[in-house]
């Protein structure tokens, strides 16, 4: 397809007196992992529901794979897979029965169905336990099975609401690899929500940050960090930085913390002290300064500044 996989224009969704989505506009290109980030209750699940046609927009326009889910919901759902807020597995059925049920829903022919189920259960390390009732499984195993179910019919677009929640670090890493492979090798668009910012930064080509239903940030993780600094300054010096100086610097009024960071001197400042003040102080102590620059915000700091403007990170 040539257009965006997902197009959201001026979308508003109200629940009685609560505005869950507030004039959200964004385009998600096909074949990438897109991260939709925000605190609990920010509107992430509501957007997925609107995109799947499970909730109607109050106003605005939404297009998924070129179709309007409010009017062509069946066609949209036929081309998508989803792991929603809850894993949605039938706990009284075995793993194989769960996947067989969904394969029947997607009308996969018997041979394709069996091969695909074998392939996915093996890839997610669940093949040996395929006949066990899912209700007896750990949360992580259920989560892996739910991801397998979402991609069972090879949809071009997959919605995954916190897919790595409850997974151990090894399983999370393996799932991240799998999602990256889906996007890069199979051209699948992955719409992902997660609270794991390191995961989002590593995996997502593009992220959207939502706060109280409003899209407060949209771009690559690098672009969101760009132009924001953590509130600390980094000083590169060719000579004069000693342990005694660092200790003395820590005592200066307005300095919260002074440490070595790589080859640099990292100074966390409080309100009231300016960079020129510090440069003058350092020069007076005999430090041979080569470069002074604001420390770039981490992705987490950038995210916090987008969801909580009082979080200290500055633009």
């Amino acid at each position: 397809m040539t257009g965006p996989a997902i197009r959201v224009h001026d979308l508003v969704r109200d629940f009685r007196n609560v505005r869950a989505l507030d004039h959200v506009t964004m385009d998600v290109p096909p074949g990438i992992v897109f991260g939709f980030l925000g605190p609990n209750g920010a509107g992430k699940t509501t957007l997925i529901r609107v995109l799947l046609g499970l909730a109607k927009p109050t106003s605005g326009y939404v297009e998924v794979l070129g179709r309007n889910p409010a009017r062509e919901g069946d066609a949209v759902r036929a081309s998508t897979g989803a792991l929603l807020e809850h894993h949605g597995l039938y706990e009284r059925l075995s793993a194989r029965q769960n996947l067989e049920f969904f394969a029947r829903i997607w009308r996969m022919p018997r041979h394709t169905r069996d091969t695909r189920i074998h392939e996915l259960l093996s890839r997610f390390g669940l093949w040996e336990r395929r006949e066990e009732v899912v209700g007896t499984w750990s949360r992580g195993m259920k989560q892996r099975l739910a991801v397998a179910r979402a991609v069972l019919h090879r949809p071009p677009l997959v919605f995954l609401d916190e897919p790595t929640a409850g997974l151990d670090p090894v399983a999370s890493a393996s799932l991240r690899e799998e999602l990256a492979r889906l996007a890069s090798d199979e051209g699948v668009t992955v719409f992902l929500t997660t609270h794991n910012l390191a995961e989002a930064e590593r995996l997502c080509a593009l992220v959207g940050v939502v706060r109280r239903g409003m899209l407060t940030g949209f771009g690559t993780p690098d672009a969101l960090r760009m132009g924001r600094h953590s509130g600390a300054i980094l000083v590169t010096a060719s000579a004069g930085v000693t342990d005694a100086l660092i200790e003395a610097l820590g005592m200066v009024e307005g300095v919260a913390l002074a440490t070595r960071a790589g080859g640099d001197l990292r100074i966390e400042v409080r309100n009231g002290v300016t960079t020129p003040d510090l440069v003058r102080w350092l020069a007076a102590q005999g430090v041979d300064i080569e470069e002074v620059r604001p420390e770039r915000a981490t992705f987490e700091e950038a995210f916090l500044s987008l969801v909580d403007p009082a979080s200290g990170t500055t633009q």
Binding site: R49, L52, G53, L54, A55, K56, A70, G73, D74, R77, A78, T80, A82, L84, E85, H86, H87, G88, L89, Y90, E91, R92, L93, Q97, F101, F102, R104, I105, W106, R107, V133, F159
Partner: protein, 244 residues
């Protein structure tokens, strides 16, 4: 849509069978019911067991009871177990999801009643040999129609209750009360009719015979089931359903 309905019904059956095979949540009680109704009662009533007039109340009641145990779980159960949203996120149409659940419940009630009937027949024939009475074809088909129609009526009612209930327990409690009222209402209404009307009604039903009453009751149940299922399908729409 028929294929999708069958897919959903098949899944429901897998869950019911699993529950039965593991003797969880009522598995044992079902075996007790089979023993009591399929073996004990026929032995007590003797060789004419199959043709007792009371059986025309007993079998629909059994079918309805068994259907009701499954259907109250249909939507409320999916909602409570957080599987409803995932099901709705698939390509299945709203109607096929709902009808699949109804079909599974109806087949369960129907199969349960018929298997009890068959066990009863075998029991009576084994115990009484040639003295055991068989059911006439006319009576048998009237009974089949009545079982099916009453099961669909109960399923239609139950799925409407299940749609509104937040939990399975709430659905079962509410449905129990509604079924009680629905069962008692015809008897109560005949009591408040003037004597002359009651006599005319008695004469009319007497003329119809037990099979005729069964066919008319089946028709009424089927008509009500169609109305109830239509209302349920209209109410069960993505975007309007409470996902819990």
């Amino acid at each position: 849509m028929i294929r999708d309905t069958w897919t959903v019904a098949h899944k429901e059956w897998m869950e019911i069978l699993d529950q039965f095979m593991r003797f969880r949540r009522g598995g044992w009680s079902i075996l007790l019911v089979v023993f009591f109704l399929g073996i004990f009662v026929p032995l007590q009533l003797g060789p004419g067991w199959a043709n007792f007039a009371v059986m025309f109340f007993y079998w629909p009641f059994l079918t309805s009871s068994m259907t009701s145990t499954i259907v109250s779980d249909s939507v409320a159960g999916e909602r409570e177990r957080h599987t409803l949203e995932t099901l709705l996120s698939t390509r299945l149409s709203d109607a096929s999801i709902l009808l699949g659940k109804v079909l599974a419940a109806v087949l369960y009630g129907y199969a349960f009643a018929l298997s009890n009937l068959a066990i009863g027949m075998i029991t009576v024939h084994v115990r009484y040999g040639d003295r055991a009475e068989s059911m006439s074809a006319e009576r048998f088909f009237a009974l089949l129609a009545l079982l099916g129609a009453s099961a669909f009526f109960v399923a239609g009612l139950g799925v409407l209750v299940s749609l509104r209930a937040a939990t399975v327990r709430q659905a079962q409690q509410l449905f129990g009360v509604i079924l009680l009222v629905a069962t008692m209402l015809p008897f109560g209404l005949t009591q408040v009719l003037p004597t002359e009307m009651r006599e005319r009604l008695a004469a009319a039903t007497s003329d119809l015979g037990i099979e005729g009453i069964a066919w008319w009751t089946s028709a009424a149940c089927a008509a009500l089931a169609v109305v109830l299922l239509t209302v349920a399908i209209r109410r069960f729409r993505r975007g309007d359903v409470d996902l819990g």
